[in-house]
């Protein structure tokens, strides 16, 4: 019985292709940041290689999976791998949440003279009062408006929460073999995801043009755009992954018992959802 053995692939050129892609990407972006504009194209070349690698590598894995060489133990490896990958993403976000909490609870009150920092305030930043949001005692980036929590962000919250429900419905449909329902609700999920990204873009344009709220608007602008920006990037990646999963469903992939990729993407989607709730509460609302 072939399924008794754990599948160990013989060799693969995708990882080394990925490393070369990363080399071009990192050298390209670094040289570009140092002021050489042609290096941007090296960066783009690197990104292209990485994208090609991802498609090739995943195509490889999908073909293996469809050919049935993966046994249940391989499936568990994939699941655990995805779980720990998401955990690493959680920790990445926690660095930026940490920065937000530190600024709000430590550095800004201290700049305002809190704790034993009376003279910091008096001598360095006389007249600065601790408040949130703030662009700092030197008014970095100039006068700005802070992002109100209701309106667009609330709509976005509703969109993401709804998408969490639709993907769960799609999952149940998959488990019960209702392919038509699965297709519709999976499509709904990634559409909601892309609408979220679009609205986030609208919000950014509004912030930059009408509110003078920019990445450069002191610590508030920094934390606002870095947190929502990285989250938006993850939603984009998640929506692309959902689209690919949807295309695979259209091709007839996944069975009620075997659908690791679907679940992995669903976990990822719930993860970006949970991050958003944290964002909505701590960045927009409180």
């Amino acid at each position: 019985m072939s399924n008794n053995r754990y599948y160990v692939p013989s060799e693969s050129y995708w990882p080394i292709v990925g490393s070369i892609g990363l080399l071009f990407t990192m050298v390209g972006v670094s040289t570009w940041l140092n002021g050489s504009s042609p290096a941007f194209w090296l960066f783009m070349l690197g990104v292209t290689i990485v994208v090609v690698m991802l498609f090739g590598w995943f195509a490889n894995v999908i073909a293996e999976s469809e050919s049935g060489v993966y046994n249940a133990q391989v499936d568990v490896s994939f699941r655990m791998g995805m779980f720990w990958f998401i955990f690493s993403e959680v920790m990445f976000f926690s660095a930026f949440f940490g920065a937000l909490f530190y600024a709000r609870n430590m550095s800004i009150p201290w700049l305002g003279g809190d704790s034993n920092n009376f003279f910091t305030n008096l001598i360095l930043w006389d007249g600065f009062e601790s408040t949130w949001p703030t662009n700092g005692p030197a008014d970095v980036g100039g006068e700005y408006e802070s992002m109100p929590p209701f309106g667009l962000p609330l709509i976005n919250t509703a969109l993401l929460l709804t998408s969490s429900v639709t993907i769960t419905i799609a999952h149940h449909a998959l488990l019960q073999g209702q392919r038509a329902l699965l297709k519709v609700f999976l499509a709904l999920t990634f559409l909601l995801g892309f609408i979220f990204v679009y609205l986030q873009g609208v919000e950014y344009i509004h912030a930059y043009h009408e509110m003078n709220l920019k990445l450069t608007s002191g610590i508030y602008g920094s934390t606002f755009f870095m947190l929502t920006g990285f989250h938006g990037m993850h939603v984009t990646i998640g929506a692309i992954m959902l689209t690919i999963i949807w295309l695979r469903v259209m091709k007839g992939h996944f069975t009620p018992t075997k659908h690791f990729a679907f679940e992995a993407v669903a976990w990822y989607w719930h993860f970006v959802d949970v991050v958003w709730i944290g964002l909505y509460v701590f960045v927009y609302w409180l």
Binding site: M26, M91, A103, S222
Partner: protein, 537 residues
């Protein structure tokens, strides 16, 4: 033709059976845990000598007071690059290499759980360190801010700055993928009936280490990303004028940094816990308490980070909390040291090279641990901070700690890898030279630090001259001794020594000793029978 077709054609039925691929393909496209482990170890050795060469530049400059060989700017580049290369290029990849080689064999798995990702984890490293080393030739030179990359100093780095940031990102990718692979392998791939508590200590300590890696490498990535955006995109994370705080970087960095130092020592604990029982001919004393101790150390590592920053300014309650939490680490660490000693107690001990390195580890790492306790005490630390005492402390835990652990592991398992014994006499000479010179190098640094010599400064007051020249002589001696190590390993791999038996040593415990030496290209394609898991602990 895509490789998907290749794989499905060849292996649809049975996974893989063939031997290594021919030529360079074997290494570039590797999925075999032993090949990837070998690449990690060789890479680590190259980095060890690169970083060591930089250390010798530092020690040569410090041989006598005054500025004689290098510019102060270049001196700072050397201290920074030495640390980055040794931490991320030498110690961590060496342990990952050992994990790759040994964990599948110790738990009875056919390979690592995710073999292709395993390859990528490795092949990102040459890219990362190629980028980092290339900064030496850039306008403004290599990073000179210290490996801790504190702003605002690091923001004065020249063209090297973005290369530094992105090479750290790449090291992070590599470590995270490597760690995911190790955790999944350990949790999912154990031989049937091998319970978690029956796992060998090296596997246990790596499980905990991998968890730490996944938890903190992303935090470092976040921290350096903030540096990048502060530099190029006008954010204010570390700019007080904009409401940020340069000290915030230190908090985020050390939230990564303290678990990081345990990432570099826990696998060495595991190695020593394998070796001491073998050469004491007794089971490890208190195996389960070792597991709980290592877990406690890992937990505590998350709540002690600010002891690296006692002088930077923080509320008194913060100082007290971090001091007490740090002192608490002595408890589980003490459990481990006492357990090693108790393992030896009344054992039929012999002193082959791996055992010598392990004993050296127990003695000398403990010295580093004690100086760590001194540094944990806030009022004392304010005296020691940024002095050579700190340099002495962390080199005691890293060189006769981590590096001796790696050396011990290499001698212990080399016959299993190569199929031949190394030259025992030369191995012992290597140990004694290393052990003597490491103390000649680093012990005087305690005195220098207590007398007030600051670290990371290329010049010093004449009162420090004697101890500095002693330390420099020791460093050169230590560096040269490691050439002997390369010679011993080279001769063993070439097949000069006696043929090794499957057991290699006198009745050692563990599944790795049940396969022939050298270990076949594929081991445990069928999981082994583990009836009494405890027999392998």
């Amino acid at each position: 033709m895509s490789s998907a077709e290749i794989s499905t054609h060849h292996d649809a039925a049975h996974g893989e059976h063939h031997g290594p691929a021919k030529g360079i393909r074997r290494w570039l496209f590797a999925t075999n845990h032993k090949d990837i482990g070998t690449m990690y170890l060789v890479f680590s050795l190259l980095m060890f000598f690169t970083g060591g060469f930089m250390a010798l530049i530092i020690r040569t400059e410090l041989f006598s007071p005054g500025l004689q060989f290098v510019h102060p700017e270049f001196f700072n580049q050397m201290t920074t690059m030495h640390a980055l290369i040794m931490v991320f290029g030498a110690v961590m990849p060496a342990f990952v290499g050992l994990a790759n080689w040994m964990i599948p064999m110790m738990i009875g798995a056919p390979d690592m759980a995710l073999p292709r990702m395993n390859n990528w984890s490795f092949w990102i490293l040459p890219v990362a360190f190629g980028i980092l080393l290339s900064t030496l030739w850039m306008p403004g030179g290599a990073p000179a801010s210290g490996w801790t990359m504190y702003p605002p100093l690091v923001l004065q780095t020249g063209d090297a700055f973005p290369f530094l940031i992105f090479s750290v990102h790449l090291m992070g990718f590599s470590s995270i993928m490597g760690a995911i692979n190790i955790i999944v392998t350990i949790i999912n791939m154990r031989a049937p009936n091998m319970t978690l508590l029956a796992m060998p200590m090296f596997v246990w300590t790596w499980l905990i280490t991998a968890y730490l890696l996944i938890a903190v490498m992303p935090v470092l990535a976040g921290a350096v990303t903030m540096l990048l955006t502060d530099q190029f995109f006008g954010t204010s994370f570390f700019l007080a004028a904009g409401g940020g705080d340069p000290v915030m970087f230190q908090h985020i960095f050390w939230f990564f940094g303290h678990p990081e130092v345990y990432i570099m020592i826990l696998p060495a604990f595991g190695v020593v816990s394998e070796i001491i029982p073998t050469f004491s001919r007794k089971p490890l004393f208190g195996h389960d308490s070792m597991v709980y101790a290592a877990s406690s150390i890992a937990f505590l590592s998350f709540i002690v980070w600010a002891h690296h920053m006692f002088t930077v300014g923080m509320p008194l309650t913060g100082q007290l909390f971090f001091m007490f939490a740090t002192l608490l680490i002595a408890v589980p660490t003490g459990v481990k040291v006492f357990n090693w000693v108790a393992t030896m107690w009344q054992g039929a001990m012999t002193f082959e090279t791996p055992m010598l390195f392990s004993l050296g580890f127990v003695f000398l790492f403990t010295i580093g641990g004690f100086s760590g306790l001194m540094l944990a005490v806030v009022p004392a630390d304010i005296q020691y901070h940024d002095s050579y005492f700190v340099v002495a402390h962390f080199h005691y835990v890293l060189v006769p700690g981590s590096i001796f652990g790696i050396m011990a592991a290499t001698y212990y398992w080399l016959p299993k890898w190569a199929g031949h014994m190394y030259n025992e006499k030369l191995g012992r000479i290597h140990f004694w030279m290393s052990a003597i010179f490491v103390n000649v190098t680093f012990f005087p640094m305690h005195f220098l630090g207590l007398a007030g010599m600051p670290r990371r400064i290329p010049d010093y007051s004449t009162q420090f001259a004697d101890f500095n020249s002693i330390a420099s002589v020791g460093a050169i001696g230590f560096g040269l001794s490691q050439l002997l190590f390369v010679y011993i390993v080279f001769r063993c791999v070439r097949g000069d020594g006696a043929t090794a038996t499957a057991e290699v040593w006198d009745n050692p415990r563990g599944l790795e000793w049940t396969v022939p030496s050298p270990a076949p290209y594929h081991t445990f394609e069928e999981p082994p029978e583990v009836t009494d898991g405890k027999a392998f602990s």
